[in-house]
């Protein structure tokens, strides 16, 4: 069954979209990330114009993250104070990102920039996570629990603040910088930034793993909500019809994903996520390097 998308102005198969939403929802439920890094390239692939894919994606992440956040609030695993500090940086970053996106669109290089962002960030984070979880799996086999360094350069900077839920007393400067970076990425790549936020919170800020996912979701909702509204106002690229269909698939997929995720070990999940991230990154890198079959591309001017 074909469905016509009013903003994208293309006709796509309803079940393809539902399936796509479901698949990404499944992975997002399993790993606790928004799944935007997968969804955006997949939307490009089925013929949604890049600008619409990025703008609409932000809106869809709000839904899946909100659903996840509510579950975490019930378990009291959200550090609201940390979330608010991250958020203050995130909103600034998001505004910068939308302007950057507009500028790149006018330049005609938005596709390249988004792909480069993906390759660099996915490659780096996927690689780091892969080796870290490999080490963790080896360590658990050896029967040792790896000790994590709790204090590094981040904790010695000025403007310190106490975060009770995370059990931390650290400077707000690195937190705000992380927030800004994730905000820019969210706007330019159309992702929530979970796959960057999660490792940054664990490895740089030293937050306990159990509050990381909920806190990251809390601030991602606000950043992506702001991004989504800015895309709607500045670029008119949010396709409500597309978002709604993706949501339905995503919500159903996330249900199954969470159940699969609960049965797996943390390191196993992390290494699977790392492999997934690396595969996406390699695929995009290959597209940049291999000779394309068609050298010309069209984009309409409104």
């Amino acid at each position: 069954m074909q469905i016509y998308l009013p903003i994208a102005e293309v006709s796509v198969n309803l079940f393809t979209l539902l399936g796509l939403g479901g698949l990404v929802g499944l992975l997002s439920g399993m790993f606790g990330v928004g799944g935007g890094f997968l969804m955006t390239p997949l939307l490009f692939f089925i013929g949604i114009p890049p600008a619409v894919a990025v703008g609409t994606q932000a809106n869809q992440i709000v839904a899946s993250s909100f659903s996840g956040l509510l579950a975490h609030i019930q378990r009291r695993t959200v550090d609201f104070r940390m979330g608010l500090v991250l958020l203050s940086g995130g909103l600034v970053g998001s505004a910068m990102g939308v302007q950057l996106f507009k500028y790149l669109t006018a330049l005609g290089q938005v596709e390249l920039m988004v792909t480069l962002f993906y390759v660099v960030f996915l490659g780096a984070i996927g690689g780091l996570m892969f080796f870290e979880s490999l080490r963790a799996i080896r360590a658990t086999r050896g029967g040792k629990v790896p000790a994590r360094k709790r204090h590094n350069w981040v904790h010695r900077m000025p403007l310190r603040m106490r975060f009770r839920v995370s059990n931390l007393y650290i400077s707000v400067i690195p937190i705000i910088i992380i927030g800004v970076l994730v905000g820019v990425l969210a706007a330019v790549m159309g992702v929530g930034g979970g796959f960057i936020m999660l490792p940054a919170m664990i490895y740089i800020l030293g937050m306990p793993t159990k509050v990381v996912v909920g806190t990251s979701l809390f601030q991602i909702i606000f950043v992506t909500a702001a991004t989504s509204i800015m895309h709607a106002v500045e670029n008119q690229t949010v396709d409500a019809m597309l978002a709604l269909i993706l949501l339905i698939g995503g919500v159903i997929g996330a249900q199954f994903g969470t159940r699969i995720g609960i049965r797996m070990k943390a390191e196993q999940l992390r290494i699977l996520l790392a492999i997934l991230v690396l595969v996406v990154s390699f695929k995009l890198a290959a597209d940049l390097i291999l000779t394309p079959s068609e050298l010309y591309t069209l984009s309409e001017v409104n």
Binding site: E9, S228, I229, V238, I248, V251, E300
Partner: protein, 252 residues
């Protein structure tokens, strides 16, 4: 919906007075959410004041449907620093979003190049670039790229022999409009030719409009962007909340 549109137009012809009387099964196409594409049936007859002379060469009919013209930016990729980057670009001013041409025979055999040019017929003449804003010298290659890419996407097509002509008088064709339609006015041009010379032309319009929910979403996104953004957000939050509630019900 199925309003019948009758068109009449006369064009002075050198020898015999021939006039096109044509109609389509619909003059309006509504794009709704479940729009699957549409088939336009175009038919008509040639009216003559006097019988055809015996030595008259066969009549030919060309029918074309042209979508609204939009400006398109064509970009070319080149390898820079080892990766493929968009480099040169051309702004193509006149590229219809859709183009289908059907005729009683191969275009070049039934109409002279001069008349093809005069009546704007054929894929080669479809895409034009005006203005000097381009940073490349090879504009024709960019115009050809538009035609090639849109042909591959099924937006442009040339169909020889798809117009059915009965006894030099009655003609008909069915033109398929794909599901990926762009909103706007689509021009239908019917052209009669004899001896590779155009002897009559008639134009009419099919109005393609988004309707219902599609119309509402599109209008709101452009006229009330802030409200639209907020509304889309509320829908997303509501969906997230209902998902979480359903999760809880399942857990019990």
């Amino acid at each position: 919906m199925r309003a019948v549109l009758v068109l009449l137009m006369m064009l002075a012809t050198p020898s015999i007075g021939e006039e096109i009387v044509a109609s389509m099964n619909q003059s309006q196409v509504s794009i709704t959410a479940d729009f699957q594409g549409s088939e336009i049936f175009i038919f008509g007859a040639v009216r003559r004041d006097e019988p055809l002379p015996d030595d008259a060469s066969p009549l030919q009919v060309i029918i074309m449907v042209t979508g609204p013209v939009r400006t398109v930016i064509v970009r070319k990729k080149e390898r820079r620093w080892g990766i493929w980057v968009n480099t040169e670009s051309v702004q193509v001013d006149a590229a219809p979003s859709h183009y289908t041409i059907a005729a009683t025979g191969p275009l070049d055999e039934i109409l002279s190049a001069t008349d093809q040019l005069r009546y704007n017929i054929g894929l080669d003449r479809l895409v034009r670039t005006v203005g000097e804003v381009n940073d490349t010298n090879d504009v024709p290659a960019f115009n050809e790229a538009v035609v090639r890419l849109r042909q591959r996407a099924g937006l442009y097509s040339e169909q020889d022999g798809l117009v059915d002509l009965q006894q030099e008088t009655l003609f008909s064709t069915a033109i398929a409009l794909p599901a990926d339609l762009v909103e706007g006015d689509y021009t239908v041009r019917i052209l009669l030719a004899r001896d590779r010379t155009a002897i009559g032309v008639v134009d009419s319009v099919i109005a393609v409009r988004k309707a219902g929910l599609e119309r509402w979403i599109y209008t709101m996104a452009h006229e009330q962007p802030l409200l639209y953004g907020i509304l889309a957000l509320l829908v997303a939050l509501f969906a997230g909340w209902s998902a979480s509630e359903i999760f809880r019900l399942f857990r019990r």
